[in-house]
Amino acid sequence: MRVIKSLLAFALLSSSMAQAAVLTDAVEIVEKANLSSYYAGKDGRAKARMRITDAQGRQQLRQFTILRHSKEPGGEQDMMVFFSRPSDVRNTVFRVVRHPGEDDDRWLYLPGLDLVKRISAGDKRTSFVGSDFFYEDVSGRDPSADHHRLVKTTDEHYVLESTPKDAQSVEFASYQSWISKETLMPVTVEYKNHKGVVYRRMEALKVELIQGYPTAVSAKITDLERGSSTEMQMRGIQYDIGLPQSLFSERSLRNPPVQWLKGR
């Protein structure tokens, strides 16, 4: 235990050393938070399980494996999501090419309909497969889409207030993020509607260091209006496993790269 603790302490120390001094520029903080949340490692793999609980306590499950590959930190990124559960959506695949500052490219493979479809989304703030996560919560929101302001800096957190540049494209009026000074991971994000009421909350329930990268292995989004929440747990996370760029193609939609999905 002590070993783990000291390891952890060392890791934290090293990462905070890397960040050098306390940050004061809001945009810089957000960009760093974006990198630590969505660009850890050159590539990566994780098994995710989403448990959606509605206001009545009824639950649904979604289980999938995410493969990710970044061209450069903060830049273009490939992502594929392979569903394994519930069993009737097994082998459904999402493919996303993230273009920061522009619309993403999205494809979909539905084995039950034997159909590959390109998706043109009006916006990225629609439900991710019926959960309380938005598509954008999974792929990452473009830091340049909002104005950011550093509200305060506490012992542990940077507290930021962000407002959208294009208010029409989002359902929130503003959001406040508590970003850990140590890991630069957002710990809590609260979304307010135009009445100033918090209606949505994201919480990183558990952040672990994996291969030196702070990783949210458990996160929860609560829809305070609807009374529903979704908890996402990540397991089997591995970074820098050498995923080939060629894997992220239309071909992999119909033919899942089994060898990259199986390993754990």
Partner: protein
């Protein structure tokens, strides 16, 4: 509340024990005569105490409360509401006034602005609001590309943009004819409210927003919650206006009859005290005031004055100056006690019989009016003697003058003997006409249409009725019925066997997986997750077994998701088509529509692809896409997250119970011919259906009430007259009258609705009074003279008394005609006419029969 009841009963009944009937008759009177001040004080105290409880009044206008809280239909309805997250909904409709339709920039801008405004109103479940600007559109964007977006995030600025919205809506079966009418003339915003008791306020705020719109369209607000709330407001008005008006009408009428302040004041005090104590107790005991109980005051007032008027009339008749008034009162009471007791008991019985109807508001109404009648009786025999004993000699003189003036008879005195002459002289004509009318009425009763519709409780020109009519003209219907298909409970037995075999297999290899056995009603989701967790940590040997177990569990899970099965969806599709072909149902919204729409857009967007996928996996994947929208919760209005239960939402264009009953019959017939897929059962929910349930309970309950009160009143008549023949005679006029009135309802085509149903049993108790008075007087006279003389004498003072009573009661109910709500008007017309008719029938039919010498012979 309880203390004031007890106080009275202690004073009244402690001393009655052990006394004979004769003594009991005058016991209350002697007490009252000895302690007039105590009686005054007691009545005043009771009245004030009960008056003090009035402010606690809570109005209940929810038709749902026509059913007991534990009624299975109601429990099912509420369970369905929760299961499928259905809210009470206010419907706001915009209708094009010019006929150019709703798809133009100006109309849509106004609608957009209104919808955004409504989203901000407190108490609106904004997440579930349905409007063009809050729903998603699925379209094709070029070949092979599907697009999900808000249908109308911003209001269109050009006609082309408006037309694009039109095209989109026409392609979305879930929205077409729900959000915009099929003819394109009207659009709607469905506003879900968290608490329906707030709907009036919310509706008012919506009206405020509408007033601020720059639009030539006409806006209407409807929906059951608004109607209910509005109804409550108007009920208050009714109680505040009609009840005092009834008091005033009775006062004026009695003044016209008696022209004596003391003769009018005494009975009025009894009536007021009765009404206040009864209503105060009802409120104080925690009952809500429902449409039925709001009429208690109006019912009690005329009933309460009748007995005291009897006493005062007879007292004035017997009293001669110089006599001791107290001695005269005792004589009067001794004479009137039994007939008053009997008429009170029969009237009360009519109301008490309502307790047999399983509708709580009707039961409360019946119980409290019965209580009020007994209270009026008690007050009459206690308060009126005390009142007389404290009258000054001048007042007594004026009372006597009044009575002597009445002896001349006035107009009544002129035409009543003529009526008697006609009845006895042309008795064959009378009896023949009566028999004919009876036969025609019976035929009319068979034509009675049982139907009700809470929206029709408002007058035809009421804004809610107008909105209801306009919106239902354009849309598929604003009345909801929910047909719910439920999976019968799943059995874990075979799964348990399979899993346990695997566990045994693993154990043989020394791997302990006993923790994953299927026990009892284990949730398969939980088991699957646990197996999956273990799979993560397990070594290769263990994993082999775990994966097999997981596969078995998953297969079972998949089988249990009934509503992903295309065969089941096809069955639903068949039912939908059948319902739509019937003209009874405006629109049917269900799972197949969702699946087919998304499937079409996923495939090509062409109409040819508006189909169900072939496999359950195809359906599941289609729905996964549907859920990837701005409104992922939308799906759960049609199916539960475990896909075991599904809701089919029927939109009906009328709230008529009859309409709903026909739909139920239609579905029953369809299912009889096309059996439900295996493992499914069905049930109904929704307000339109609940109304049918309580109405059925009402109709059968009323039959019990009517029959039982008929039998009991008949037995009482036999006992009262100690003659079977007289018992039958006493029942004749009211039997004839009730048949006549209901026959008329049948022929006229007036719906047999709640007020009409309730009145049948209670009029029986009220209208028998005339026959009791008539027959008792006739028998007394017959003992002294010939039949002809007795009958002629009946059309003097006794006939006048009966007529006056009938007029007082009938007129007492007429203020209801001015009420703002239809049920009150119905009750007013119906009661007034039944009272008038039964008095007339008593005065015509009984003499015509009694003219036959043998019939009246004791």
């Amino acid at each position: 509340m309880a203390p004031c009841l007890l106080d009275v009963s202690n004073v009244l009944f402690d001393k009655t024990l052990g006394f004979s009937n004769i003594k009991m008759k005058i016991l209350f009177t002697t007490f009252a005569l000895q302690h007039p001040r105590k009686v005054y004080g007691l009545v005043l105290l009771l009245t004030l105490a009960c008056l003090a409880m009035m402010p606690l009044l809570t109005i209940d206008t929810d038709p749902e409360n026509m059913l007991r809280e534990d009624d299975p239909a109601r429990i099912f309805h509420n369970q369905v509401k929760q299961q499928f997250i259905m809210h009470d909904t206010i419907v706001v409709g915009a209708v094009s006034a010019t006929g150019e339709g709703i798809y133009n920039p100006q109309s849509l801008q106004a609608l957009h602005q209104l919808s955004r405004g409504i989203l901000d109103i407190d108490g609106v479940v904004s997440r579930d609001q349905m409007s063009l600007d809050t729903v998603d559109n699925i379209t094709q964007q070029g070949p092979g590309t599907i697009r999900f977006e808000w249908l109308m995030q911003q209001a269109p600025q050009t006609q082309a943009q408006a037309d694009a919205i039109k095209q989109a809506v026409n392609r979305l079966p879930m929205l077409n004819n729900t959000l915009v009418s099929g003819d394109g003339q009207a659009a709607a915003v469905y506003v879900p409210v968290a608490d329906k008791d707030e709907s009036y306020r919310i509706a008012e705020e919506v009206r405020g927003l509408v007033a601020g719109l720059d639009s030539s369209d006409q806006y209407h607000i409807t929906g059951l919650p608004v109607a209910e709330d509005q109804f409550g407001v108007e009920m208050f008005i009714q109680m505040g206006i009609s009840a005092p008006l009834a008091g005033l009408a009775i006062f004026i009428l009695m003044w016209v009859f008696f022209r004596s302040l003391p003769l009018v004041t005494g009975p009025m005090i009894v009536a007021m005290a009765t009404v206040i104590i009864t209503m105060g107790l009802l409120i104080g005991m925690g009952f809500t005031v429902h449409i039925m109980s709001s009429m208690i005051a109006i019912f009690l007032m005329p009933i309460a004055v009748v007995d005291s008027t009897h006493i005062l009339s007879e007292f004035a008749d017997r009293f001669h100056p110089g006599e001791d008034p107290k001695a005269v009162i005792i004589k009067v009471m001794d004479h009137l006690f039994t007939p008053m007791l009997y008429t009170s008991v029969t009237s009360a019985l009519g109301f008490l019989s309502l307790m047999l109807t399983p509708i709580p508001p009707v039961q409360i109404f019946g119980a409290y009016i019965a209580f009020g009648i007994f209270l009026a009786f008690l007050l009459t025999i206690i308060f009126i003697p005390a009142y007389i004993s404290r009258m000054s000699p001048e007042a007594l003189k004026s009372l006597q003058n009044a009575i002597h003036r009445m002896e001349d008879g006035g107009r009544l005195g002129r035409w009543l003997p003529r009526l008697g002459g006609f009845a006895t002289g042309r008795r064959f004509v009378v009896l023949l006409v009566a028999a004919g009318a009876f036969a025609i009425s019976v035929a009319g009763i068979t034509r009675i249409q049982i139907n009700d519709n809470p929206v029709n409780w408002f007058k035809a020109d009421h804004e809610i009725r107008v909105a209801d009519k306009v919106l239902n003209n354009h849309f598929a219907g604003t009345y909801d019925a929910w047909l719910v298909l439920e999976s019968t409970s799943a059995d874990n037995t075979s799964l348990a066997n399979e899993v346990n075999q695997l566990i045994a297999g693993a154990e043989a290899q020394g791997i302990d997986l006993s923790a994953y056995a299927v026990i009892g009603n284990l949730e398969l989701d939980v088991l699957a997750s646990r197996l999956d967790d273990q799979l993560f940590a397990a070594g290769a040997d263990e994993a082999v077994w775990l994966e097999q177990m997981l596969a078995v569990v998953e297969q079972e899970q998949q089988q249990r998701r009934t509503f992903l099965n295309p065969a089941v969806l096809q069955w639903m599709e068949g039912l939908q088509t059948h319902l739509l072909a019937s003209d009874l149902v405006g629109k049917v919204n269900a799972m197949p529509d969702v699946v087919k729409t998304v499937n079409r857009e996923l495939r090509s967007g062409a109409d040819a692809d508006f189909l169900l996928p072939d496999t359950a996996n195809g359906v599941a994947q289609t729905l996964l896409q549907y859920q990837s929208s701005h409104r992922p919760q939308e799906l759960w209005h049609f199916v539960t997250p475990d896909y075991r239960d599904s809701l089919i939402w029927l939109q009906l264009t009328s709230g008529d119970n009859q309409h709903m009953s026909q739909v139920v019959a239609l579905v029953d017939a369809y299912i009889a011919e096309h059996p439900l897929p295996e493992g499914l059962r069905y049930g109904w929910a929704g307000k339109a259906y609940l109304n049918v349930v309580w109405q059925d309970a009402m109709v059968s309950g009323m039959a019990d009430s009517l029959l039982s009160s008929f039998v009991v009143v008949f037995v009482m008549m036999v006992v009262l007259f100690r003659s079977l023949k007289y018992g039958v005679l006493a029942m004749l006029p009211l039997t004839f009258t009730i048949t006549l009135i209901y026959g008329l309802i049948g022929w006229v085509g007036k719906d047999y609705d709640m007020p009409i149903a309730v009145l049948s049993a209670l009029t029986l108790g009220l209208s028998v009074d005339f026959a009791i008075h008539f027959l008792q007087r006739y028998r007394e006279l017959r003992k002294q003279g010939t039949n002809d003389i007795s009958l002629a004498e009946m059309f003097q003072e006794p006939g006048r008394a009966i007529t006056r009573n009938a007029i007082v009661i009938a007129v007492g109910f007429t203020p209801l005609l001015f009420a703002p709500l239809v049920p009150y008007i119905t009750v007013g017309i119906f009661l007034a006419s039944i009272m008038a008719a039964s008095a007339l029938v008593t005065l015509v039919l009984l003499p015509a029969l009694l003219k036959f010498e043998t019939i009246g012979k004791a």
